[in-house]
Structure formats: C-alpha cells, structure tokens
C-alpha cells in the first residue's frame, strides 16, 4: 500500500511541478498570474484596512441566511445529479485511464486518490473565487471564515458527485436520484416559502417556519468562522470521501464510462494531438432530430445558424437548460417586480434583481469564451465562403438566442409584476441588445486571454474584471442622457445606442484578433 501511495504521490507531484514550470516559462501566463496576485493582494489589503477601521462583524441576517443555505444546497444538487446520472469526470484524461487501469496499483488506493485529486483541483481552481467572495461580501462574514467556508463548501460539492455515483453503482440509479431530489426539495421548499411570504402576507407564517428551521444558522456560523461549524463541514467532506470509495473494488469500467464524456472533451480540445478512443453511443438520435436536408437559404455564414439549431435539437441537456433558465427568469422577474412595487420590500426586490443581473452578466460573458473555443478550433468552422466578420456576427446571433429568450421572458414578467408595461414592450429588443453586448465582450476577451482556465482561475477573474470595465461606457451614457434630458427613458436610449456601438467594436476587435490566428488561439486555450 505504501508503494502505491508513493507512486501516486510522485505522479501528482511531477504534474504540479511541471505545470508551474510551464506557467513560469510562458510570459503571457506569468503576467496573468502576477496581475491576478496583485489584484487579490490589493483587495485583501483594502478589506483588512476596512476590518481594522470598522471591525469584522459581518453577519448574514435572516431570511437571507436561510436563502443562502438553500442556494448552496441547490448548487450541490448539480454534481449530485450528475453523479446519479453516471456522468462524472473522475479520470481526468485518457492518459489517466490508461496508466492507472493498466497498472498493478490497487484500485482501493487509486479511486480515493482520484476523488481527492478532483477535490484538490477544485480548491486550486476555486481558491481565488473563494477569496474574491470573502473580499467583495464583507457584510456576510469574516474573511477567514468565508475563505475556509467557501473552500469547504466547494470540497463537499466536489465529492457529492462521486458519492452519488457510488450510491448508483451500489444501490442503483433510483437511489442516487432520490438523494439529488431530496437535496433539491430541502433547497427549494424553504426558499419558496420565504419567497411566498415576501409576496403574500398570508404565507408569512410559512416563511417564518422556514426561517425557524435553523438552516441559515449553519451558513452564518461557517462564514463567521465558528470552529465547530467549520469542523463539521470538513468532517462531512471526509465522511463523504470515505463513504464514496471505502472498500470500493472493481469499479474501473463504470468510472471509465462515467468519465468518458469529460475525457473526450479534453481530447477534443487537444485536437491535433490525438482524439478520443471510440465508445459507441448508447442511444440513437430521436427521429425528430435527424436532419436529412439543409434548409433553404441557410447558405454561407448562415449555415452556422442551421448547425447551431441542429445541435440544439440533438442536445437534451441544452434544451433542459433553456427550459429551466426560462422558468428561473420568469420567477425572478415576477418576484423582483412584485417586491419593487412596495417601498417596504423594494430593497429586497433590488437585491434579487441585482443578484440575478450580476449572475447573468458573469455567466453570459464566460459562456461566450467556452462556445467560441469549441467552434473556432475545428477545421470545419473555417471551411466557408463567407468572410470571418460575417461568420462571427452570425455565430454571435446563432448562439445568443438561447440566452435572449429567457431574459426577454424575465423582463416581460418583471414589467407586468412591477406595473411598468413599457419594460415588457421593450423586453425583446432590450434582451437582444444586452445579450449580444455580453457575448461580444466575452468573445473579445477570449481573443486576448485564450487560456481557458474557467471562471475561478486567475485568468477567469481578470476576464471578469475587464468585462466589468466594459460596462462603464453604457453606464456613463445612461447617466449623462438621463441628466441632460431629465428623462429616464432618454438615458436608456443613449445607453442602448452606446451598447450597440460597443458590441460592434468588440466584435470587430475579435475579428482582427482571430483572422489568421483562430486555431492557434483555440489551441492556446486548450
């Protein structure tokens, strides 16, 4: 056993050391790391100065603490569901599978190592994000409590997938799905009760009951750095690891199959350096998704629109995401609009709206980079008679509609709920302008920072910072327009004009950057 652990420790150590060496040898990555560290250092110092001046007495109050607990639990439903479905990237690559399966290393050692590595990898990727949360939300808790609290929550989230997967292999998929559903219910029911209480006075006893469950106390204690709460969080992580794979044997085929999609994605990103070995698809395409003829008129760059539509019809997960996104946007629109109607609940409504818009901003600008990375690295993308400019504009439209639709629905709901039908009337053009703007920011930033390290990486954080700076011109236009004309709507009109202009500039910038360098940018991202 000692030799097995030593071999795996050697593997991990060399990969980490060589990874850091590569980063130090690559000037662009090194500059990004330095900028990232400087960014966090500055904000950390500011936070410490603030703590010294005003004390570190941040605390999450009810019902927000309970809602935060529900949000965390809801976040954890995703990996649990993935594990229950049997889709889980435990082997990180085909090299991993080849060298570990075809070795005499004991499976009982290798599998916990893979799970722990997955968790530690999450820490590496998300430590910066945890620190960022600790810095930008001083009202929620202490900096140490928040940092270790977020890390602990990320760790538990990372190991919930393997836990659900183990339950699936031991007791069947239904048992694993049950766990995910229980998590979802525990998250949604109290949150719905609190939401209903905010909208309707008759439901306030329910909201009080949800708050009195004490779920929020756990989150508050963790973020405040309470030693007992923190110990329980990390103990839960260790317990889940042990329950997941203690005594696990003969699971390699299931783990390989579960990891296949993730490994194939890695191999695909490393195109030109090998592809995935073939495992045949277990399911056939539904007849409705098969396209035997190309639609009329969709030639040249418009073929991208057709390709995206065909891909959408064949991807159940994307269709579900659109449906869920639309439902969530509808809910947020109704809740925030209704809350904003009354002065007593306007603050809560503003918080719901601003949180939703911030999430939208971050996710849309990030998704643009991932989608573009998927497309421009493929030789097929470059086989077109249309110019790169036209293709990039069509691509932006083709991949933006899935986000425009939920946002437009949310805006319509918000308009009616808040009693301002003008918002509802302008929902579709407003959503289109906003989403195309965010996508163009993401696209332009991707061509500057093609290193695709995810949202929690240093590069991801820098992208976010620059994306936020890109919001300055429309914001200024709104302020100046409103002030000059003394009309809020003139400010909105000015902001929309500036937004459209800025979107075009970002896309032109991306065209100039990608021309002749597309594949190399995609490879650098990989």
């Amino acid at each position: 056993m000692r030799k097995d652990i030593a071999a795996l420790a050697y593997l991990e150590w060399r990969i980490r050391v060589n990874g850091w060496r590569e980063t130090l040898r690559t000037p662009s990555k090194l500059v990004m790391v330095i900028l990232g560290i400087a960014y966090y250092a500055i904000f950390s110092v500011l936070r410490i100065i603030n703590v010294r001046a005003h004390g570190d007495s941040g605390r999450l109050h009810e019902p927000f603490a309970t809602l935060a607990f529900c949000a965390v639990l809801l976040f954890m439903v995703m990996p649990t569901w993935a594990g229950a479905r049997g889709v889980l990237k435990i082997f990180s690559s085909f090299a991993d599978a080849r060298f570990l399966i075809c070795s005499p290393l004991r499976e009982e050692i290798v599998i916990p190592y893979l799970v722990l590595r997955k968790s530690l990898f999450s820490i590496g990727r998300l430590a910066m994000m945890a620190l960022l949360y600790a810095i930008i939300f001083p009202m929620v808790g202490g900096i140490t409590g928040m940092l270790f609290g977020f890390l602990g929550l990320f760790l538990v989230g990372a190991v919930l997938g393997p836990f659900a997967f183990r339950v699936r292999t031991a007791f069947g998929a239904s048992a694993a799905y049950c766990i995910a559903v229980v998590f979802a219910l525990v998250a949604v029911v109290p949150a719905a009760a609190i939401g209903a209480g905010a909208l309707w006075t008759g439901a306030q006893p329910l909201a009080h009951a949800a708050v009195h469950l004490g779920l929020g106390r756990a989150i508050s204690a963790i973020f405040a750095g309470n030693l007992a709460a923190m110990s329980m969080l990390y103990a839960l992580f260790v317990l889940l690891v042990l329950l997941s794979f203690f005594g696990a044997r003969d699971l390699y085929p299931e783990i390989f199959h579960a990891s296949y999609l993730g490994m194939a994605a890695v191999a695909q990103r490393n195109r030109g350096r090998g592809n995935a070995p073939t495992i045949r698809s277990a399911s056939q395409l539904p007849k409705s998704a098969v396209s035997r003829t190309s639609p009329r008129g969709m030639t040249g760059a418009w073929a991208i629109l057709w390709k995206d539509w065909v891909t959408f019809r064949r991807t159940i997960a994307t269709q579900w995401m659109l449906a869920i996104g639309t439902a969530v946007a509808l809910g947020i629109g109704i809740i925030s609009g209704d809350l904003l109607r009354s002065p007593s609940t306007a603050l809560a409504g503003g918080m719901v709206l601003s949180t939703a818009l911030t999430s939208l901003f971050l996710s849309v600008s990030l998704v643009a980079t991932v989608l573009l990375d998927n497309d421009i690295g493929k030789p097929m993308w470059w086989l077109s008679a249309s110019s790169l400019r036209v293709r990039l504009y069509v691509w932006t439209a083709a991949t933006a509609w899935r986000m425009i639709l939920p946002l437009a629905v949310g805006l319509v709901a918000f308009g009616f709920a808040s009693g301002d039908p003008t918002v509802a009337l302008l929902a579709i053009p407003g959503a289109a302008v906003a989403i195309v703007f965010l996508r163009s920011i993401g696209t332009a930033l991707y061509t500057i920072f093609p290193w695709n390290g995810g949202a929690g990486s240093t590069t991801g954080m820098l992208r976010m910072l620059l994306a936020m700076l890109a919001l300055a011109p429309p914001t200024l236009a709104f302020i100046v327009g409103s002030a000059v004309a003394q009309q809020l709507w003139f400010g909105v009109f000015c902001a929309a004009i500036v937004t459209i202009g800025e979107s075009a500039l970002f896309l032109e910038f991306a065209v100039a950057r990608i021309a002749g360098n597309g594949v190399s940018i995609a490879r650098e991202a990989a």
Binding site: E22, A95, F99, I101, Y252
Partner: protein, 234 residues
C-alpha cells in the same frame, strides 16, 4: 495462453461484441481484423478492463482474470494519450514505481528509450510529443512494466515508415520473449507481415480465424485483400 470465451458487450440496444471467442498463445502475434465498427476497439477496451463485458470470461494460463488484470494485460490504444505535464522519463519512473520494479530498472528504461529513438526526448513533456513519439512512450512504458499480454490497437497508424519498421521488429523480438500479442489493424499487408494468425470480426461477431494460408485455402482467394473482402461481405 490468453483465452477469451463468449465475450459480449452491448451499448444499449446496439450489440458491439457478440459471443467472441479466441485464444492467443504465449509467443504468438494474433491480428484482429474487421471493417470499421466490427468491434475491435470495444474488444480491446473490454479485455483491458476499461469496459465491463456483459458476458464471457478472460483467462491467462487457465486462471480467470478479474478486475486487477492490469498486472497481466497492457493496452496501447489507437490514440496514444500520455500525461501532457510529465516528461518521457517521468512516465517511466511512474511505471517503475507503480510496478515496484527492482533496483536497476533505470538501465532497462534507458535502453528502451534509445532503442525506440526517444533518447533525445527523455526530458520532453508529453504535450510536446508527436503522435508517433507518444506511441513510443507508451510502448516503452508497457515494455518496462513487462506485462505478459500486449494489446495494440491500430499501432501502425500515425507512424512513419521508419517507425513502422522499428515497431515491427520490436514486436518480433517481443514474440521471441514469450509475450502474447494482439494487434487490431485495417492494413491487410501489415497483418500478413506481422501476424501468426488472424481473427476476423464483423458486426461484433466472429467470422473466421486461422493463418493466412489456411484462410486462403478455405475461401479460395490468393490475394489477401480479396480474401478479407470475401470473408467480411454481407
């Protein structure tokens, strides 16, 4: 002897391998031939423990192989993936540590690298290696681990003529050391040069097996390509 009996693997309703049986003696090279989608790669993935077959047994020298068959069977896949952030030498160190090789393995590893033309790439990271070099790295790692059964999925694809010749000679050498070697390939000529026997699959099912001479006699075709097409014709 490697003995496969009644191997079966399905993907949903699709039967990928259906009751496949064949054997490979120590010191023998057997070619697994078949058109695209015949089930060659699936067979290899199941034999190496990457996929769980629904039916069949795999045994080595009469002993059924279980989940720990990594000690016995090594797979070199068609797309040879190595760790992008390990050097060629570090791959071998990891294999030596995994297999708890006796002191002195470094000499054998060094010789393997020289023989495979990887001596100059010892400190090159996996991400910087060409496909041929990655394949050679995997071969070096496999030979260092010294498993008695080798599975090579389309090993000649991606190798230049010199590399193909080197690999062929190396496989002949390995045969003399008593390894049981199974190769999947589309290249009939390569199979003729390399293999002592061939097993032909189609749609996951066994079609025929034997030496080329035996099959020629059975089918009545002299040309190997014609022979293959005749046997795999619907």
């Amino acid at each position: 002897m490697l003995q496969i009996d009644g191997l079966g693997k399905r993907f949903g309703a699709k039967v990928a391998v259906d009751g496949l049986s064949f054997s490979v003696a120590a010191g023998e090279i057997v070619g697994l031939l078949g058109p695209n989608g015949a089930g060659k790669s699936t067979t290899f993935l199941a034999l190496a423990g990457f996929l769980r077959p629904e039916a069949g047994t795999i045994s080595w020298n009469g002993v059924a192989l279980g989940h720990d068959r990594g000690r016995t069977i090594a797979l070199i896949p068609e797309t040879p993936e190595v760790y992008p952030l390990l050097t060629v030498w570090e791959h071998l160190v990891f294999v030596a540590k995994s297999n708890a090789l006796a002191p002195g393995w470094e000499k054998k590893a060094g010789e393997l690298l020289e023989r495979l033309g990887l001596g100059g790439e010892r400190d090159t990271l996996g991400r910087a290696l060409s496909k041929g070099m990655r394949q050679k790295t995997l071969i070096a790692a496999t030979l260092l681990a010294d498993t008695p059964v080798l599975l090579l999925d389309e090993p000649m694809i991606g190798l230049d003529p010199q590399g193909q010749r080197e690999l062929r000679e190396m496989l002949f050498d390995l045969r003399t050391t008593g390894k049981a070697i199974v190769i999947s390939t589309h290249m009939i000529e390569q199979a003729q040069q390399l293999c002592d026997r061939i097993v032909i699959l189609k749609d996951g099912r066994f079609v025929a097996a034997g030496t080329f001479d035996e099959l020629r006699e059975r089918v009545g075709r002299e040309d190997a390509e014609e022979l293959f097409l005749e046997l795999t014709r619907a």
